[in-house]
């Protein structure tokens, strides 16, 4: 009942301060009116502050060979994906690197080839065939990136995705990674036009 005690004089004072606040408000918007626009004209201009943007996932190329992914093909991402949009295909290949010790042995000790070869069973390595992402289904939850035990997956910074059909968003991540590695500039050059 503050208002009742204030009486007419208080009401008038309240109204006048209220009116002044309206003038202040006009000043605030009026100030913005003369400033430069902060938005960009999208198709002609794009922004480059996308380092925290979570776009479709991408494979991280290995440090030694940028054509090869760091992925260890454990399949955790495929399992953890709630939308089932990741499909990793791989096969076992017999000792692609077993050649090297063999090549060394004849030079070092030619006398004991039978001693070393039998215990060293033929090593099987997983080799990647394809790593497909159906981005139409992806909800960008990030469980795949979180569950990746190595450093095989990350979010890309590609904000400017547009296509004419659903098939435009069925990504072959292996091919995309290789295209990025061989393309102009380094990773992320796609988004910084």
């Amino acid at each position: 009942m503050d208002r009742a005690s204030a009486g007419l004089f208080g009401e008038v004072r309240k109204t006048l301060t209220g009116l002044w606040s309206l003038v202040v408000g006009l000043g605030v918007t009026g100030n913005q009116f003369y400033r430069r626009a902060v938005t960009v004209h999208y198709p002609r201009q794009t922004v480059d502050n996308l380092s925290t943007f979570r776009g479709p996932i991408e494979l991280i190329p290995s440090a030694k060979d940028p054509m090869k992914p760091d992925c260890i093909l454990c399949g955790m991402c495929e399992q953890s994906c709630p939308s089932g949009c990741i499909e990793v295909k791989s096969h076992f290949e017999e000792e692609p690197d077993a050649e090297e010790p063999k090549a060394q042995t004849p030079a070092g000790a030619a006398s004991d080839p039978e001693k070393k070869a039998p215990p060293k069973k033929k090593k099987k390595t997983k080799v990647i065939d394809s790593f497909d992402l159906n981005f139409n289904l992806c909800s960008l939850c990030g469980l795949c990136v979180q569950s990746c035990p190595g450093s095989g997956l990350r979010f890309s910074h590609e904000a400017y995705l547009a296509g004419y059909s659903r098939s435009d968003f069925e990504f072959d991540l292996l091919a995309r990674m290789r295209a990025k590695a061989s393309g102009p500039g380094s990773a992320g050059s796609d988004s910084k036009r």
Partner: protein, 328 residues
């Protein structure tokens, strides 16, 4: 007899020509104003506004108009068909008449010179709410009906301080003829009525915001509460005509404000219609500025502002003006 007949014929032709010219004037001004509104809104929010159609988006409203004309005119089920389609016309037609007594320039640029110009404008701008009321009633839609009820309550309330503030100027000038009121003011800003009666101008301007349903008093079409208010059910040009009427009404009230308080076509250096248009657009810009600054008021606040503040203030103002006129 023959002379009288010729005289009447000339006057009729003059009126018809004036109406056609004003229709074109309204059309052009609505196109400009809608673009201006969107550009100004963009500037206040630090974005470019429409930009893609034409250079800097200048043809955007034309494209919108074409789209609107190409759309289907749909009558909702259960609506009163005759009233429903009469309503936009009843809203729009009086606005055209309101332009008739407006003196755009020193000579010949008045549609119809008349002694009761102010009264005609106030009467016909009051008729606009009738169309809104019919639109809300005949739509058979609760949002439309609430919007119409709000429009009526608001217009009735805000017409009183509007009339009282106009009356204060009429007391001072001693005429209701808009040309005479304009001629009574000088070229320079300190010779305008706004210097003599700033409070009248303030009351007039706030009341016109309520009268034309502009934000922050746009309760009849409050989109967050009533979808689109009284024109919820209108599609295509049905909505387009309401839209045109709204913007044309803004031009009318800003013209009246310019004539009554800002010296009309009087201006520094060379008097002429350019000063008139510049002042009208200045007032329109302020209206847009207010719209993009203040949030919409609540309905009880809207009526409180009017009945508790504007109407008593306008009465007091009128009393003081009447005293001054008698004494000076």
């Amino acid at each position: 007899m023959n002379v009288l007949g010729i005289h009447i014929a000339i006057e009729l032709i003059q009126i018809v020509v004036a109406v056609v010219v004003f229709l074109a004037f309204i059309g052009v001004n609505v196109l400009i104003l809608v673009l201006m509104e969107r550009k100004v809104a963009g500037r206040f929010q630090r974005r470019p506004g429409p930009f893609e159609v034409g250079p800097h988006g200048s043809l955007q409203t034309l494209a919108d108009a074409v789209k609107m004309m190409a759309k289907e005119l749909h009558t909702p089920g259960g609506a009163d068909k005759i009233l429903f389609w009469a309503a936009p016309i009843i809203t729009f037609a009086p606005v055209v008449v309101c332009f008739m007594p407006v003196p755009f320039g020193p000579k010949y640029l008045t549609g119809w010179e008349m002694n009761l110009g102010v009264v005609l404008i106030l009467a016909f701008s009051g008729l606009g709410v009738f169309g809104i009321c019919l639109a809300g009633w005949s739509s058979n839609n609760k949002y439309s009906l609430i919007g119409a009820a709000r429009a009526v309550a608001q217009s009735v309330a805000y017409e009183i301080p509007l009339l009282l503030s106009v009356l204060a100027v009429a007391f001072q000038v001693g005429s209701l003829n808009l040309s005479v009121i304009t001629a009574g003011q000088g070229s320079w800003p300190w010779q305008w009525n706004v210097v003599v009666q700033p409070l009248s101008f303030f009351i007039f301007f706030v009341s016109t915001l309520g009268e034309t349903n502009r934000a922050p008093f746009d309760l009849p079409e409050a989109e967050s509460e009533l979808t689109a208010g009284f024109h919820t059910e209108y599609s295509g040009m049905g909505f387009g005509v309401f839209f045109m009427a709204e913007y044309a009404a803004m031009v009318v009230v800003c013209s009246v404000g310019t004539i009554l308080f800002l010296g009309g076509w009087n201006g520094p250096l060379v008097n002429g219609p350019w000063w008139f248009l510049a002042k009208v657009y200045g007032l329109l810009f302020v209206m847009m500025w207010l719209r993009w600054t203040f949030p919409r008021v609540r309905f009880d606040q809207l009526l409180n502002i009017n009945w508790k503040w504007l109407t008593p203030l306008a009465l007091l103002n009128l009393l003081v003006v009447a005293l001054m006129v008698k004494l000076v």
